[in-house]
């Protein structure tokens, strides 16, 4: 019998992730996509509340209690959008029938103060071994490594100015 979940109760994805907690932020490595994310404090707070049981309205109340300041529901939806785009939620969000606000629109609408920061997720694609190593300079072999920017690999030797 399928468990009945409350409506609009997002659940954080945990499978296939490596998670490191920092004092306010969270580092997440997606093993499937080789992408690493840094969740800023607001994004991290929202993600922590994504337990599949807490609705968006309840999340707003919880965040207000934790931050001791009013929190707009649009802020939470913005965070959830960021989390979904980063594949950090288990399922696609079912959003109420109103448009998503862009970051600029959100800042304008909420007039964000020093007490509240916009949820933000910074992401990088993890480098491969070759990408993280030194490139080959001019006249050096490019048999096993890429030439530095400005040079091209010609007959296994880097040519150009790099």
């Amino acid at each position: 019998m399928q468990e009945k979940r409350k409506p609009l109760a997002p659940r954080a994805r945990k499978e296939g992730l490596v998670i490191e907690e920092l004092p306010d932020e969270v580092l997440v490595y997606d093993l499937k996509r080789d992408k690493a994310h840094c969740l800023n404090p607001m994004a991290a707070l929202v993600w922590r509340h994504c337990d599949g049981e807490t609705s968006v309205a309840e999340m707003v109340r919880l965040l207000q209690a934790e931050l001791k300041t009013p929190v707009d529901e649009e802020l939470v939806w913005f965070a959830l959008d960021q989390l979904e785009k980063s594949f950090l939620l288990q399922e696609r969000l079912i959003r109420p029938p109103r448009g998503r606000l862009s970051r600029r629109e959100l800042v304008r609408r909420l007039g964000l103060t020093a007490g509240i920061t916009l949820p933000l997720i910074t992401s990088i694609l993890a480098p491969t071994v070759v990408e993280a190593a030194s490139c080959a300079h001019v006249t050096m072999s490019c048999a096993t490594v890429a030439c530095c920017p400005g040079c091209t690999c010609v007959a296994n030797l880097c040519a150009g100015i790099c």
């Binding site: 840094c38 030194s134 072999s141 920017p149």
Partner: protein
């Protein structure tokens, strides 16, 4: 037995470096002597012939008539890495490939593509891609009295402390059309560090002519990402990488910003590190 195994190997060496066992076999004993100068810092001969990576060097003969060309060849395991008429190229490719292999496979060290110097018991890490000016900045810091640790890799242990990887500095010439040359740190009037150091500051910067260095401090998480972007084994050992980098950023500020000439920022970097160690904010 593979075809390559049936070639006439007359000499070889097996060794370990940073927990990785490798070997080289050659068809010419003189090549083995030359090869020793291309092995990574800290290598030790190994009595066991069992290795994780085997290089096979076939040196072409120089004393042949004009009609005959004998290429020199380099294999890594069964894969041909280079076929060349220039013997030097064999050694350079071997050095580069071996270095990269060790950086990705070392079990107890996390290799970050970075320059490193030591200053008053702390390490200054300068991560960056090739051409960002790491070696130039390292050389200037050494000239200012810092101890040389590496111009290529920061070796981090599980506690986030830095170990030396003091290979000769690879310094570019005046123009970009010449290849870099190798200089021992003593040629710059400096000395190589031997002690393990905690990280004191991380400088994420790239050279841009005429710019004044005004770095901003990254958040802990973004600082860790800035280091991960240059971590060789990021994809192979992400769990270990994140854990170690977390330890680094918890104790060392990560400063991000473009800079001008290296000489112009050395004093500022050393003052920031001193201020951080002494417990002040570290910001101007």
């Amino acid at each position: 037995m593979e075809k390559i195994d049936r070639l006439g190997w007359v000499a070889g060496i097996s060794f370990s470096a940073f927990g990785v066992r490798a070997g080289v076999r050659v068809n010419d004993p003189a090549a083995l002597e030359r090869l020793l100068g291309y092995l990574p810092p800290g290598w030790k001969p190994s009595p066991s012939p069992v290795v994780e990576r085997l290089y096979s060097v076939v040196m072409g003969c120089a004393n042949l008539g004009a009609r005959v060309r004998r290429f020199s060849l380099l294999y890594a395991d069964r894969n041909k890495l280079v076929r060349t008429l220039e013997p030097d190229e064999v050694f350079e490719v071997l050095e580069s490939d071996l270095q990269r292999h060790i950086a990705g496979a070392a079990p107890r060290r996390l290799f970050v593509h970075a320059g490193v110097v030591g200053w008053r018991g702390r390490a200054i890490l300068i991560p960056g891609r090739s051409g960002s000016g790491k070696t130039t900045l390292v050389a200037e810091l050494v000239r200012a009295g810092a101890t040389y640790y590496s111009d290529e890799y920061a070796l981090l242990d599980p506690r986030g402390r830095v170990h030396p990887y003091a290979r000769p500095l690879s310094i570019r010439g005046e123009t970009s059309s010449t290849r870099p040359k190798k200089y021992p740190v003593e040629a710059l009037g400096g000395r190589a560090g031997v002690a393990t150091l905690p990280v004191g500051v991380v400088i994420v910067s790239e050279f841009r002519a005429g710019v004044t260095w005004r770095p901003r401090r990254l958040s802990l998480g973004n600082g860790a990402l800035a280091l991960l972007a240059h971590t060789v084994a990021a994809r192979r050992r992400p769990r270990s990488a994140l854990s170690i980098l977390r330890r680094v950023v918890l104790h060392a500020p990560v400063l991000n910003g473009v800079r001008g000439e290296a000489k112009g920022v050395v004093d500022s970097i050393l003052k920031r590190l001193d201020a951080n160690v002494n417990g002040r904010s570290g910001h101007d």
